[in-house]
């Protein structure tokens, strides 16, 4: 069993700092990892659960569940204000996670880590705060056709409010970004390039370093939506040289309701607040108000303290498994699943052919079976997949299908589960006489 992060508050001091640079597991064993996830031993419709909806949200290991519970049991208090012991412990734990998140993402300064609800809120923060100050009529925001709605709609709203325009860059037949089109689209009117690191539908990993260079060449800022990448691969903001990066905790084994916006300090310092209220102010007078320093300027009101502490436990757990190990395991599993699906002649699989160009996300259709019907039949077998437009309707229109079924993997999934999944697809074919 892994040590529980902040489970014992008496040892809180000793859990700070270097102790989280834990030794990663020498041998990666998904079957062993499963034991850390209580939910994976439950049955669904009479069969052992196969959870392949990880791109929607991941399951939580005991260490995360206990970290949240132990905050409420042992040191629940509001942070940054109280003078008493509980407030001190809660504040230490909360700020400790900020430091760990900075290390995890290789941010230079911990105040570049802003806690928000999720990736969506992080992107909305940039659109409302940075966007309203820096984007005007005739300016351009360049995004891609494979964005999740969360990295489309905030920019459309900003464009509506400022008279700017949003330009979409398309994808190739193989499901990868048309890089040369991006080069054409980004010009000196472009204020921001906002791109998903990994597609939640196609699984495609975008070449964010190269995209960032194109943005910066034209003086535009570069935002990376890391919601689908950071749970599964190393995301290093210094290496990518992105100006903003957003992700959600719940897709990386953390609780729902907590996410992170990373921003380069020089930009965050120059940005006006997003939400007003407590915590984000320095002084409030009837005649006016001055803002608090980073990161508090962007954390109005009591934050999701338990969520932050749970996120810290998730980061510790991922560090322990080793993000490289997780990625390798998922690539193997994805390759295994792609091979099996290639054997089903009725299966249409979308996205890159090679598992090396993907995260563990596979979208597909089987014959004329609608994705919802497929998901219903798989649910019968205890297998959870996603179906529909995946909050990516422009991509669906681009590909020309109304819906897709999607299986998405995580560290705890196994080849045996992929076998059960493929067997269930055969059941669906029989039901629909495909």
């Amino acid at each position: 069993m892994v040590a529980l992060y902040h489970y014992d508050v008496r040892n809180m001091q000793s859990t700070r700092g270097s102790s989280l640079l834990v030794e990663t597991l020498r041998t990666f064993n998904a079957s062993k990892i499963r034991e850390d996830f209580p939910i994976l031993s439950r049955d669904v419709n009479g069969s052992r659960l196969v959870y392949f909806d990880n791109a929607a949200t991941s399951q939580k290991p005991t260490i995360v569940i206990e970290a949240v519970a132990s905050y409420y049991r042992q040191y629940n208090a509001n942070i940054h204000r109280g003078i008493h012991k509980l407030a001190e412990e809660a504040t230490l734990a909360y700020e400790d996670v900020r430091e760990e998140t900075a290390k995890f993402t290789n941010a230079r300064h911990s105040e570049e880590i802003i806690f928000v609800r999720n990736a969506t809120e992080g992107i909305n923060l940039v659109a409302n705060s940075w966007g309203r100050k820096n984007v005007g009529r005739g300016d351009k925001i360049v995004i891609t056709i494979m964005e999740h709605h969360s990295n489309i709609v905030p920019w459309q709203l900003l464009a509506e409010n400022t008279g700017a325009e949003v330009e979409f860059v398309g994808i190739t037949k193989n499901g990868t970004l048309q890089q040369e089109r991006l080069d054409d689209a980004v010009d000196d009117k472009t204020k921001l390039v906002a791109v998903t690191h990994a597609s939640n539908v196609l699984g495609t990993i975008n070449q964010v370093n190269a995209i960032g260079r194109i943005a910066h060449k034209h003086g535009a800022l570069f935002l990376v939506d890391a919601a689908q990448s950071i749970p599964h691969m190393k995301v290093d903001v210094a290496d990518i040289d992105c100006d903003f990066m957003a992700f959600s905790g719940h897709k990386m084994m953390g609780p729902t309701g907590i996410g992170v916006l990373y921003g380069k300090r020089k930009f965050l310092e120059d940005m006006p607040p997003f939400l007003g209220g407590g915590e984000m102010i320095k002084e409030v007078h009837t005649t006016g108000t001055s803002w608090n320093e980073l990161p508090y300027k962007f954390e109005a009101g009591t934050p999701d303290i338990a969520g932050v502490i749970g996120l810290g436990a998730a980061i510790e757990y991922i560090n322990r498994l080793g993000i490289k190990n997780i990625q390798e395991h998922e690539q193997e599993l994805t390759g295994y699943a792609l091979n099996k699906l290639a054997g089903l002649k009725e299966a249409m699989v979308y996205g890159p052919k090679s598992s090396k160009e993907r995260v563990g996300v596979i979208s597909f259709n089987i014959g004329d079976i609608h994705a919802h019907d497929l998901a219903s039949i798989l649910d019968e077998e205890g297998i959870a997949i996603r179906s529909g437009h995946h909050c990516a309707q422009p991509l669906m229109e681009f590909v020309g299908v109304p819906a897709m079924a999607r299986a998405s993997f995580y560290a705890y999934n196994t080849e045996e589960e992929v076998d059960r999944f493929v067997d269930a697809l055969e059941v669906a074919k029989r039901v629909f006489n495909v």
Partner: protein, 135 residues
């Protein structure tokens, strides 16, 4: 819910939908989608003397949504607008012959919702919450 919902009759209506297509000179056409899953249904009605004289539907979606919409068009053809307004969830379940369960019931009711929007729209009446909450 079980795979039993995919009875032959539902698959038959999915693959060979009755009253599917364009209705030229429709008196009213209404389209609506289930925003959660993207299923779309459009109903087109021709009304004569308070009755649905002709009807066509078009749409995209799962077997449950398309089959139930198609079955519904057959049911209402020749019915008065008042009779059509009175149709409810149970009528759809009776048509399907199964209860698709809580996660799929909205698929089954999309056609009914659009049908009601069309009838109320034709009559120039405002739609109650009862209709809005169908899907």
């Amino acid at each position: 819910m079980s795979s039993d919902i995919y009875k032959d009759i539902i698959l038959d209506y999915y693959r060979h939908p009755r009253n599917f297509g364009e209705l030229p000179n429709a008196d009213i056409r209404v389209k609506d989608a289930n925003p959660l899953c993207g299923d779309v249904i459009e109903m087109q009605l021709k009304v004569k003397e308070g009755k649905i004289a002709d009807i066509r539907f078009q749409g995209k979606g799962c077997a449950i949504s398309q089959a139930s919409a198609s079955m519904l068009t057959e049911t209402v053809k020749g019915k008065t607008l008042d009779e059509t307004k009175a149709l409810g969830k149970q009528d759809i379940l009776n048509l399907l012959g199964i209860d698709p369960g809580p996660t799929r019931i909205k698929c089954a009711l999309l056609g009914l919702k659009v049908m009601k929007l069309a009838v109320y729209g034709y009559l120039g009446q405002s739609v109650g919450d009862e209709v809005k909450q169908l899907v």
